[in-house]
Amino acid sequence: MKNKIITILILLSLFIPVAAFTLTGEEIIRRADNIQIFETSEASGEFQIKDRFGVKVSTFNSWSRGTNESLIEFTSRAERGQKVLRTEDELYLFYPDAEELIRMQGSMLRQSMLGSDISYEDMTGGKDRISQYDVILEGEESFKGNDCYVLIMTAKVRTVPYPKEKLWIDKETFLVWKAEYYTKSDRLLKEMETLDTKIINGRTIAVETRIVDKMKTDTETIMFMSDIKINIPIDDAMFSLEELSW
């Protein structure tokens, strides 16, 4: 009897570390979200938008606070002064020659931002994905030499941009190396891939990302981020509608 108990205890002890260190799908997503969220951040960036007519470059400065507030101001000649403000619940566009702010809602959110492969709707994501999606840890794969978790996220609500997402998340850094976005009927809509990273404040951040809208032909958008500053003081007013038109 004593031997039996010892055997069971030994067997249990073999399983305890595995159970303790195996992450659930939700936990992986939570960690992946956490490495992208800062108290505040500031960066410069560039879109290289390739379409059937060639490559177009748009530059911008961006600021963010927490998960739901961000401001992008375009600096390239053709779009100089245009701004995109994301607040808790809304997305607003400011154009220097327009006398009113444009609130993006409904089908307007599906429009492409500056003709890129990124829609305005893409900018509204990221709000508490755990409560919006069912997450299944499908397995593990190596992606470009990086060991990744492969996760399938299926939307629980209809308010998300994509009903289904497949993610390749680095097991060590929790960086999303690749993401595929699908319709409910498994039709591939968009693809995102991290091309380059940088370690900032101990976190691995994507600084070069390729986005391809599969609904378009011969298009691709590469987003470069530079001069990233983390947890810097930012004026509260920066994310207010009143300040949007300064």
Binding site: R52, K56, E79, D97, A98, M108, Q111
Partner: protein, 411 residues
Amino acid sequence: MTTKLVKTALRNISRNKRRSILSGVAIGVAAMSIVMLFSLIAGMQVDMESNLKSYYTGGIRIRNENYEQYERFNPVHLTVDANTIEKILNTIEEVDVYVPRTSFPANLYIEGTNFGAMGVGADFEKEADFIDLEGSLKKGRLPETGKNEMIMGAVLARDLKLNIGDKVTIMSTTAARGTNAITLKIVGLFAFPVASLNAKYFWAPIDRISYFLRMNDATQEVILKVKEDGTESEIAVKIKEILKQETGVNYDVQAYTEISGTYEMIEMANTVYIIMAFVFFLLGSTVIINTTMMVIFERMREIGTLGALGMHGKELVRLFFLEGMFISIIGTFIGVLAGIGFTLLLGKTGIDLTESMQGIDFEVSGMIYPKLSIGKTVFVFFYSVIIASLATLFPSKKAAKIEPVEALRYV
């Protein structure tokens, strides 16, 4: 013998005036209707061509060589240098007037919602020689160069509950393949002859549109009218060669009949018109044939009497042929004259189809002015006389074969 038959035929016509008048009126009304329908269709064809030339393509359209290939992608960046082109057009004798224009799809942002519309950037001073913009204004005035102003189709303004003085923010894709928005003030409401233009379009100064769309003072196209209608194709070839020689640039220069979509539309419209004319023609012919045949069939008793009195079969056929011919000549003549009269009248006053054309995306005006064609009118006259005369042959031949006793049984 023939003189005698002619006299008999005329006497028969005058003897039963009511019958003769009724059949003559039926033939006349049919002839009048055919004349008027032909005139209406001719008016619609002329109107459609005129509208295409004035509001859409011009008689000849000059665009960037690659524009048409990518047209469905709204390639705002594929522009032409209007100033250079206009200087060259000035030297070409056959060119009457020309204007630069930029058409673009836009969203009108009104109280949080986007409404699709089409914008046109135009040089309003030059347009004065091209189309009657001032006369098309229902309210207000034309926009001024350099100002953020627009005129809007009266129907579009009504649908969006907008009026003069209101400001509208428009959004569109720019030549830099980005997006932009600008707020324009409505200073006038227009009512062009084409219903779809009034329901979808707004026009603004081309310099502001060029700035808004980041076109660097270039325009999407230059359209022009030639001095002599019908010569557009050959002059387009000439302009293309001269532009190539002078600028080294290969422009897309096309006469309105050659422009993809436009030509098909004209062809389709013509086919529809021909079918309409044919159906009506058939109906008119049926009325004429039916009336003539009925008149003879109901006179079997009279034919029997004439046979009993010794008139031969061939004489009977000739007699009724002559009767039919005389009645149709008189009826058709009066009908065609009435048709010409009404057409000339409506050609001045016009037929107002504005209400029924609402929502129809077809380049035909709400107000149609029938156009008289002498050739077609003469054809209708002879056709009606011949068809009415020939229509007598079948019943009269049949009647001639019947024994007088048999024919007398008819009531």
